[in-house]
Amino acid sequence: MSRVSPEPSGRGALSGGATGATDRSEGSPASELQSQAATARPELPHNARPAPTGVASNVPALPDADAEERGSTLYSGVGRERKLRRWVVLTIQAAMVTGFLALWEWLVSARMVDRFFFSQPSAIGQTLWSWFSSGSVYPHIGITLLETLLGFFGGTLLGLVIGFILARSETLGDIFEPLLALLNGMPRVVLAPLIILWFGLGIASKVALSVIVVFLIVFYAVYTGIREVDQNLVANARVLGANGGQLTRHVLLPSALTWIFSSLRVSVGFALVGAVVAEYLGSNQGVGFLIANAQSFFQSTGVFAGLVVLMLMVGVINLLLRTIERRFSVWKLS
């Protein structure tokens, strides 16, 4: 995930806590929760006609090397040329990251930048080393991952069920969809204080925020997926003899699942965001807690180290998702 690294620490230093973390996990210019979700939704209908592909091509997503490969097939000629270009890109990226870190290190050493606020790459590296070598960071990573997973699956399940019901019943859809749109338009981070009040400082509040965030994404994917399902497919299945249940099982659900799938990266990213934001606002464990804790002691080094840990997590998750996407998008339209 070398592409993640060029931009990290600078902006993190300025924006500090939670929103900085959001930025990192999505790798897209929009850094606030709500602006991301707002774009996630309206983009979906664009590819409604040709069934959405397994790969989230037009949904804001985690940094995606695929996009680069796909794009380059259009104009770059033979394999050797492509390989060369890839090397050039990688070299420039590595040089930029190294240059940036070196400049940072030097600026701090030369006292042109205040060590107190901006720390120093070497110090951040040392902190990371001690976290990982002592093993003290693993429980925090584990907790954050657990919250993310629970939030992702809980939110997906909830979104699937409610999206399905509202899409199938016109009346219920008319009643509830505008309300959910209202909720969707609101920055969901502001729910975090309430949720922590209700669910406490433990894992429950983190999962709850994560579920809400993921739910809205999946809900809209399913809702549009089923409302916009190709009517030709429905008509054909009915003529072939499908009853209501068979229509759901063979046509509507698979159609909805392809939409869920195309928003997979976004929802996993947001599951992590929900968990970390809630941790940051109030908890005693997790990566978000590490960052908040360091901040409360004015240790910019600890904040940076926490951000790096988050970045690494996003990188690993991203790799896993790509593998899953490749495996499951066998039938995608070319």
């Binding site: 069934a51 008509a235 054909n236 299945a237 003529v239 698979p254 066998v330 039938w331």
Partner: protein
Amino acid sequence: MEPSTLSSTMSEAAISLREVTRRFRPRNRPAFVAVREVSLDVREGTFLSVVGPSGCGKSTLLAMISGLQPADGGEVLVRGEPVRDVRSDVGFIFQREALLPWKTVLDNVALALVFRGQSPTGARGAALEWIARVGLAGFEHAYPHQLSGGMRKRVSLAQTLVYDPPIVLMDEPFSALDVQTRNLMENELLGLWAENRKTVVFITHDLEEAIALSDQVVVMTASPGRIKASYPIDLPRPRNVTEIRFEPRFAELYEQLWADLRDEVLVSYEQSKSRAVG
């Protein structure tokens, strides 16, 4: 109900339309009549084509026969019974792509049998047989997007014929194919049809295709669609759709039918122009 006992008392019509009317009320646009008081009998075992200018309600006719859309007036009878819901004994091959993109050729073809509660193994066996009959052996595990347009049409054919519906409705099934593939498919369709002579209602805007395939061709008027004329096609069978066009009798029929169709096409063209302006 046994169709054979009915046919003796109620004529041999597999499909009869009695003064059928269908209106549409689209949002933000004035309501219009798609089909007005159409009466038509299709005898069992007949290959009947309906030609007409675009927008004349041809597809609506099929939708009403299959039960996908209700008639607003008049009565639609299929094998003697009034149509109230989607009929399971009527096959429908759509103009647009209707295969499930997330299922393989095999699973797409087996679909109707699975819907009818057949065991997966039985359904697959029958599906395999039909895949071979439409010339797609070896492509059982391909997904629709991996096939060409012509191959996808073959899958659609197999998907419908696998459950052996006595009536098959086809809505411009070959209009998206190139000319060569199209002639090939037309010939294969005739071959399959000759085996057990199902009742076929075939919609097309292509007069040549209609004459080459059918026993009877019905010409519809421009919107609102009514039946203008009906011609029996007395060309000998078996036919080769590519070669039959050179027969003198084919040319005669074409001329007669075109004389009827031409005026309607012109009316339809004027309508579409005024609609575009207004």
